[in-house]
């Protein structure tokens, strides 16, 4: 431990702690700009200068390691005047017009730092040279006039998202933030994760909505989870007067540590589907607005005689974007009470089949956290730059530290550009590939398989030597296989042979819970008299619509109008993910609670309430404490 004294407060900190972090522990406030807790210390802005006894000059607290018996002063006249000088220089570098800046008045760290030093004005005038405003990106704007060159965005893009889009060009006064080699952000390699805007301390990088919808201090914040996929990233939903203002990554969330992908951060902002705002019942061939009573009675009338029909009754499907409570109640109603043999979820068949063999992985089962510690990662049957992207960030951002990443695909994989080990196999040859690799590791002859996989011996050799020499290797698989079960078994074997962890990155937000409730068989109508689709806010796929469109009586619970609701006999308006509470089980089996952050429109009910109302109408037995039961079950 290191003993340090800061502004008269003495404390012990572990070796390697920076003076800044030690000061934070001591409750001493040192202003910073380029520093960000989620990023590596950088030491560029010099706002954090402190006086260290014995040192000739002021020292940056954010990069300086605490030394034993160090005595630090953070509020001397010398320090204060240095801060004012640093701030004056920063302001004069570019052009700040606070009175019409969107982050002014609370959300700008530069302005707040100046307030902190009681600055009533800038001793040095602005630059008055116009800088470019890059508004080419669909989700955010880069105003170079307000950029303070702190490089937080550059570091976030690299250290958090592993995308390396942003960088600095030129030097000195000409230094400028660039995307790729200086092209507009909208045309660049940017993947719209938004990490950069979440860390930008000023109004230089601002998203297109929140800046005009309300400052942080005017908004309500709800901590909840993203249900864009099964990674289950922790988010903070900012709203004002029941309007969505912004989605931010929750820095304290265990799963993602503040990072989000486009799906989590920006897609909710561009939701344009039409809301279903009232129950609708088909009359004379047309869907007409109805009361809840009417709509529920219509369903009850049809459904009463179907109770107890295993075949010939109600085929029911529930969205895996819905909370565990809904899945569980759904199962109670249609499997336990109706006794239907077709009670399942919206998950793709392939993922469902994979679930049935998943238990065979045993001790080789890995978790998302294994990705960060791995020194070699091979991905099969998945492009982690397309979905489950945050898991992809974990892999990409480890590459500069020496992690060898081997994306195996038959077509282009977004990961290819980041690694020299991209491997292209023949289409539908994942199984052959995995088996070839196993054979190679065991020095077995596998020419035919290798041929089928479409790889040269040298390529196979290289991959097996990477996996063999790695100390912590991880095999990642998706669901994009033609023979999921066999491929999965081959992967388990390969994991054993290479002593690797096996991490499955598949499914939607609550696929794991749905599988645990056995809501995972392929959906077929098979003579059932009605299809009941509890869709929530999920967008129906063409395949789904095809399967149910000819059902004699189609009931859809949906937040949005779609091609499916258009075909329904009864449509019931339900809450979206932002409007309901409940539990989710992510791909690691971690149970997380989602919290309601917005009020639903007046005539809209939660998915759970609707199922319970329906059960009551039909006098069905639901376990009294279905929520507790659901939690226990997952």
């Amino acid at each position: 431990m290191i003993h340090i004294k800061i502004d008269g407060k003495e404390l012990e900190v572990p070796e390697g702690t920076t003076v800044l972090n030690a000061a934070r522990q001591a409750g001493v406030d040192i202003p910073t700009l380029c520093d960000h807790p989620a990023l590596e210390p950088y030491g560029g802005c010099r706002l954090c200068l402190v006086e260290v006894e014995g040192a000739r000059t002021l020292q940056p607290a954010c990069t300086m390691p605490a030394g034993n018996n160090m005595v630090v002063h953070t509020a001397t006249e010398k320090v204060k005047s240095a801060r004012k000088f640093v701030l004056s220089m920063i302001f004069s570098e570019r052009n700040h017009f606070c009175m019409y800046c969107q982050v002014s008045g609370g959300d700008c760290e530069l302005q707040n730092a100046a307030y902190g030093e009681d600055m009533t004005h800038w001793p040095i005038q602005p630059n008055w040279q116009p800088y470019e405003v890059d508004a080419s990106h669909p989700y955010f704007v880069m105003d170079h006039n307000r950029c303070i060159l702190c490089r937080r965005c550059v570091r976030a893009c690299a250290e958090l998202s592993g995308n390396f889009t942003l960088g600095m060009e030129e030097r000195g006064a000409k230094t400028i933030l660039v995307a790729d080699l200086g092209i507009p952000l909208g045309d660049s390699s940017c993947i719209s994760c938004g990490s950069c805007i979440q860390v930008c301390p000023t109004g230089a990088l601002i998203d297109r909505w929140s800046a005009y919808l309300g400052k942080d201090k005017d908004t309500q914040s709800t901590q909840t989870v993203c249900i864009g996929c099964s990674v289950g990233c922790g988010i903070e939903v900012l709203s004002r007067n029941n309007n969505l203002v912004r989605v931010e990554g929750n820095w304290d969330a265990e799963v993602n540590g503040g990072v989000l992908c486009e799906v989590g951060r920006f897609l909710p902002m561009v939701e344009e589907r039409d809301r279903v705002v009232t129950p609708m019942v088909r009359k004379d061939g047309k869907l007409k607005a109805a009361t809840w009573e009417e709509a529920l009675n219509t369903i009850a009338e049809k459904y009463q005689p179907l109770i107890g029909h295993a075949n010939n009754g109600v085929a029911a499907m529930v969205s895996t974007r819905l909370p565990a409570e809904v899945l569980y109640t759904f199962k109670q109603v249609f499997a336990d009470n109706f006794g239907s043999n077709m009670v399942t979820s919206t998950d793709e068949e392939k993922f469902a089949t994979l679930n049935s063999v998943k238990s065979e992985v045993g001790v080789y089962e890995g978790k998302l956290t294994d990705l960060e510690e791995a020194d070699a990662v091979m991905t099969v049957g998945i492009d982690l730059t397309k979905d489950h992207q945050v898991a992809g960030f974990f892999i990409k951002r480890a590459i500069p530290n020496g992690t060898k990443v081997i994306p195996v695909n038959y077509e282009a994989n977004g990961m290819d550009a980041f690694t020299p080990y991209a491997t292209k196999i023949n289409k539908n040859a994942d199984l052959a590939f995995v088996k070839t690799l196993s054979a190679n590791l065991n020095n077995e002859e596998a020419a035919e398989l290798q041929n089928k996989a479409g790889l040269e011996t040298a390529e196979i050799d290289k991959i097996s030597s990477i996996l063999k020499s790695a100390e912590k290797s991880v095999l990642v698989y998706g669901a994009d296989f033609t023979q999921p079960e066999e491929t999965f078994r081959a992967l388990v074997k390969l994991a054993k042979e290479t002593n690797s962890k096996l991490v499955g990155i598949t499914g939607k937000a609550n696929s794991t819970a749905a599988a645990q409730y056995h809501l995972d068989k392929p959906f077929v109508m098979n003579g059932h008299q009605s299809a009941m689709i509890v869709l929530g806010d999920e967008e129906p796929t063409q395949t789904m619509i095809k399967k149910v469109e000819n059902s004699p009586f189609l009931v859809v619970l949906s937040s949005y109008h779609s091609a499916l609701t258009a075909k329904a006999d009864v449509v019931l308006p339900v809450t979206t993910w932002l409007e309901q509470d409940g539990h989710y089980v992510n791909l690691d089996g971690k149970i997380q609670e989602a919290h309601k952050s917005l009020q639903s429109p007046i005539d809209v009910k939660s998915n759970l309430d609707v199922l319970e109302l329906l059960a009551a109408k039909l006098n069905l037995e639901l376990s009294a404490e279905s929520l507790v039961a659901a939690e226990k079950a997952v």
């Binding site: 052009n95 606070c98 002014s104 009681d118 009533t120 005038q125 040279q129």
Partner: protein
């Protein structure tokens, strides 16, 4: 002790800061009790007293030679000069034109605007003052107190006036410090 004399004027601003001053509502009576309001854009006197005032207040930046003259006169006739509002503090909204040449700005204003017909022409009467870049008041004369804000809040203005009228230097910090 006689009441301290206060004079004010506006330069390249929008009059918003003086409007904000009027926003102190009935508290203006308190100010009048404490101070002797002399030349201001809202009173009849047009120049600060030749024998001087205690406090001079300037709204707006300096964007031509006439502004320069007003600022210099105010400075020479007041003991304590206040730059009121963002325009006076650093140039403010009018300073946006600093990104263009004066020639470009004049052409845009007098010739190219959508509402100007063919007869539009840049005024060139030698009697007219000369436009310059927009500058902070402090770039032309010494300023004793900067009161930022666009416009500064009525409460802040009242605080400043009340303090000055009672012979104290106002502290502008925390809740009273706004640049927006």
């Amino acid at each position: 002790m006689s009441k301290p004399k206060v004079a004010s004027d506006w330069l390249a601003g929008c009059a918003g800061c003086h409007m904000s001053l009027l926003d102190i509502d009935e508290r203006i009576l308190q100010v009048l009790e404490l101070a002797d309001l002399r030349a201001t854009p809202i009173t009849d006197l047009k120049h600060p007293d030749e024998d001087g005032v205690d406090v001079g207040i300037l709204e707006g930046g300096i964007n031509n030679t006439a502004n320069e003259a007003v600022a210099k006169q105010m400075r020479s006739r007041c003991k304590y000069l206040v730059a009121l509002g963002d325009c006076a503090v650093f140039g403010g909204v009018p300073a946006m034109r600093n990104f263009f040449t004066i020639e470009e700005t004049l052409r845009r204003a007098y010739v190219e605007t959508e509402s100007t017909d063919d007869s539009g022409k840049i005024p060139d009467d030698p009697e007219l003052c000369k436009p310059t870049n927009v500058r902070a008041v402090s770039e032309v004369v010494k300023v004793d107190l900067h009161v930022p804000g666009c416009p500064p809040d009525a409460d802040v203005i009242f605080h400043v006036l009340a303090e000055l009228a009672q012979g104290r230097i106002p502290e502008i910090k925390d809740e009273k410090l706004h640049w927006h």
